[in-house]
Symmetry: C2
Subunit: 228 residues, 2 copies
């Protein structure tokens, strides 16, 4: 069973530790803040109060057996760098570290970090994109210039079937799924809106005003499709 | 032209402001930190040094014309709450606020925030998911229980054509795209790896060992598919 250690359980680190635990993984948490350790000790396998910058602290903990270490310290770059170096020297296979700037990233990868994450920056970019194109709920960049987006049905296409809309030849994009909210009765007999997802919808499917389409294609073709 | 104001240009807020500016939008930034204002004033339309919790500060700025406000303050919940209230009173159509806990979210939506973001938590969940399933590069949840993932070709399917693999009837998932790294010569004649994306790959396409598949389906079917 793979073993994980999360060092610095702030907003980012604690979400990593909690999600790993929910997926049934063994997780150790190290943090210098007593309250954080208190809270995490009720959730994860083991939580210890430790300042990782103190002398010989990491060596005294047998971390060499850990498969993955996630360093969630944001305010102290030196602590992230030293911790990355020590973990790689002790033989931890995968070290994931958080960074704020590109130069942080350069240093952390030079000292052995296997993966570097910019949590706040990446979410900032996503939020800005969704504000600029309010019809896009989420998108994933498959490759530079190619993406998948969830978007509302363009006005001109509402009421048409997929066959009539002929999206692939007109816009060069593909509709891979359709999400529709349909009222259903819950267990108390009250009506609630539930998502129904149709994967690879057939040509006969009629595009409704409130349907959400999952569309894949070149980003410039997606732009054209959205503004129809 | 839509006008945006970003209040609190920390790691998250500054990424929102920079991305909006790159997309050609007019962006005003408010922050109490002089260095932040200095840096942002070189990038956005206007940056002002302001403590939004000071009396009558927001009223004195004509923010009522703003279409969207993004509040990127994380360390001071009271500031986020008061700012949200004032902006909605002034008539700002969309207020997006950052939160850390579920109870923050409850308060912020009660006082009028239109959208609430948990940047660190959401990224923590994503990173943990990608650590648990290392073959998944990214995923987007289309609806509870339904997702799209990018994943490596399962060992058993490598070398088969899509027709032979018969993925839809065997696993109940759909392969919507295929990403393949192929060496190409760049403008200096040196070989580099470039992504080629094939949307809706034909049944005759052979699945290579290094191909990345973009797969959509119910999450439990995706799990089955990945572990073939
Ligand atoms: N030297 C250290 N040893 C152990 N834990 C540390 C150390 N430095 C910081 N931490 C812990 O790391 C966690 C993250 O805090 P920090 O303020 O460094 O980053 P942050 O970027 O604000 O975090 P986040 O945005 O994820 O909340 C905190 O819980 C803090 O107690
Ligand atoms: N009352 C205020 N008025 C104006 N700006 C503020 C106020 N309080 C905080 N800020 C600014 O908001 C930005 C975000 O800082 P804060 O420490 O509150 O959040 P954070 O969650 O650590 O941010 P991030 O994770 O995005 O870096 C900083 O640039 C800070 O100067």
């Amino acid at each position: 069973m793979k073993q994980y250690v999360v060092i610095g359980a702030g907003r980012f680190g604690s979400a990593v530790a909690i999600t790993l635990t929910q997926k049934g993984k063994q997780v150790m948490v190290l943090d210098k803040d007593e309250q954080v350790v208190q809270r995490m000790s009720e959730i994860v396998t083991q939580a210890l109060q430790v300042d990782v910058t103190a002398e010989n602290v990491l060596e005294s903990l047998d971390l060499g057996d850990m498969d993955v270490a996630v360093i969630g310290i944001g305010s102290n770059l030196e602590a992230s760098i030293l911790t990355t170096m020590q973990l790689k020297e002790m033989g931890v296979k995968t070290v994931v570290a958080k960074a704020t700037t590109r130069s942080d990233k350069k240093i952390l990868s030079r000292v052995g970090a296997d993966r570097i994450i910019f949590p706040e920056r990446d979410m900032g970019v996503r939020v800005a994109n969704s504000l600029v194109s309010p019809t896009i709920f989420d998108y994933i960049q498959v490759s530079p210039g190619f993406g998948i987006v969830e978007t509302k049905v363009p006005k001109d296409l509402q009421g048409q079937t997929l066959g009539e809309a002929n999206v692939r030849s007109r816009f060069g994009v593909d509709i891979v799924a359709l999400r529709r909210q349909a009222p259903r009765l819950d267990k108390n007999g009250e009506s609630e809106l539930k998502d129904t997802v149709i994967i690879a919808p057939p040509a006969t499917e009629v595009l409704g005003e409130n349907d959400i389409l999952v569309v894949i294609g070149e980003e410039k073709n997606i732009e054209k499709f959205k503004s129809t």
